[in-house]
């Protein structure tokens, strides 16, 4: 039996709806609702705490203890917040960059400090260079210009630290932490909140 025009139209609509469902769901899967802005703010505060402790407390433990504490807080909070988030290749790539850079910084700076081969300018240059690399790699993966600006701030800090006095490089470091961690972190949190609201409005359902 040859289907009527109406039946053909209905079938066409049904097939188009299926194709549209596939596209929508793939886009939904790629849409991340993870929040990472708070980690930038947390680490910015951790750097300030470590600097204050090292400066006024004159303690050699200031940096390692603060960094280990910040790592533990980050790991714990991330596991609580992202409990049911799916694992994506992009998410793992970005996570790998930051874990790799964080571990490298910790091992290198701790070893150099214990060996007495690290002055203040070198310390700031290494931190600036490594954080610049991590931010640049993340921004390229995410195609996010704002984070690349963050990388430029850290690279500029690294360059200035190489050519300036200890006091000058310290001031530049404090400003870089404020711009690259606190300001960027707050901006990221606001962007994530806006994206979540937009996504909640757009989100569709797929009942059987």
């Amino acid at each position: 039996m040859i289907p009527s025009f109406d039946e053909q139209e209905l079938a066409k609509r049904e097939l188009t709806a299926r194709l549209s469902l596939i596209e929508t769901m793939i886009a939904e899967g790629r849409q991340t609702t993870e929040s990472w802005g708070w980690t930038f703010v947390l680490w910015g505060i951790a750097y300030y705490v470590a600097i204050a402790w090292a400066t006024w407390g004159h303690s050699n433990f200031a940096w390692p203890v603060t960094m280990i504490a910040a790592s533990l807080v980050t790991a714990f909070a991330a596991s609580r917040m992202g409990g049911n988030q799916p694992e994506t290749t992009i998410g793992r790539a970005i996570g790998a960059i930051w874990i790799g850079v964080g571990a490298s910084l910790f091992i290198l700076l701790l070893s150099a400090s214990i060996a007495g081969r690290m002055d203040q300018q070198t310390f700031i240059a290494v931190v600036g260079g490594m954080l610049g690399a991590a931010n640049a790699a993340s921004s390229i993966i995410l195609k996010w210009g704002a984070q690349f600006a963050c990388a430029l701030v850290w690279w500029a800090t690294a360059v200035v630290a190489c050519f300036s006095s200890a006091n000058q490089s310290s001031i530049v470091f404090l400003v870089a932490i404020f711009l690259g961690q606190i300001v960027f972190g707050v901006y990221m949190m606001l962007s994530e909140a806006r994206e979540r609201r937009t996504h909640e409005r757009k989100s569709g359902a797929a009942h059987a």
Binding site: Q8, M25, A205
Partner: protein, 112 residues
């Protein structure tokens, strides 16, 4: 020189393909599409994305699992049970074939 837009549409053939009935179910299709875009996903995330009930979602995922299109892993994270789903290579191929068949049928419907 770029091909004309009409040439990119699938050519209608005399023998139209059948749509895979396991994938054709709306919720199962949504689940496979979601899983194709992530490496693995938790049951509660799939439930939120598809806005379905536990019972219905579990039943549809079981059908996909029985067909070999998804694999399941149960584990404990922070002492809470988690059920993780991953798309298999067979499932990925089946979804690709389904999309091809769908495009072929749509091409035939448009040209009818």
């Amino acid at each position: 020189m770029p091909e004309p837009a009409t040439d990119s549409a699938p050519e209608p053939t005399s023998e139209l393909p059948d749509l895979n009935p396991v994938i054709h179910g709306k919720l199962r299709l949504a689940l496979l599409s979601l899983l194709s875009s992530v490496e693995e996903a938790e049951f509660t995330w799939l439930r939120a994305k598809t806005n379905s009930t536990d019972g219905n979602l579990g039943a549809q995922l079981l059908k996909l699992e029985e067909a070999g299109y998804v694999e399941v892993e149960k584990k404990f994270v922070l002492r809470k049970p988690q059920t993780i789903y991953r798309m298999t290579q067979i499932g990925r191929q089946a979804l690709t074939d389904y999309v091809q068949a769908l495009k072929q049928l749509l091409g035939a419907a448009i040209n009818a």
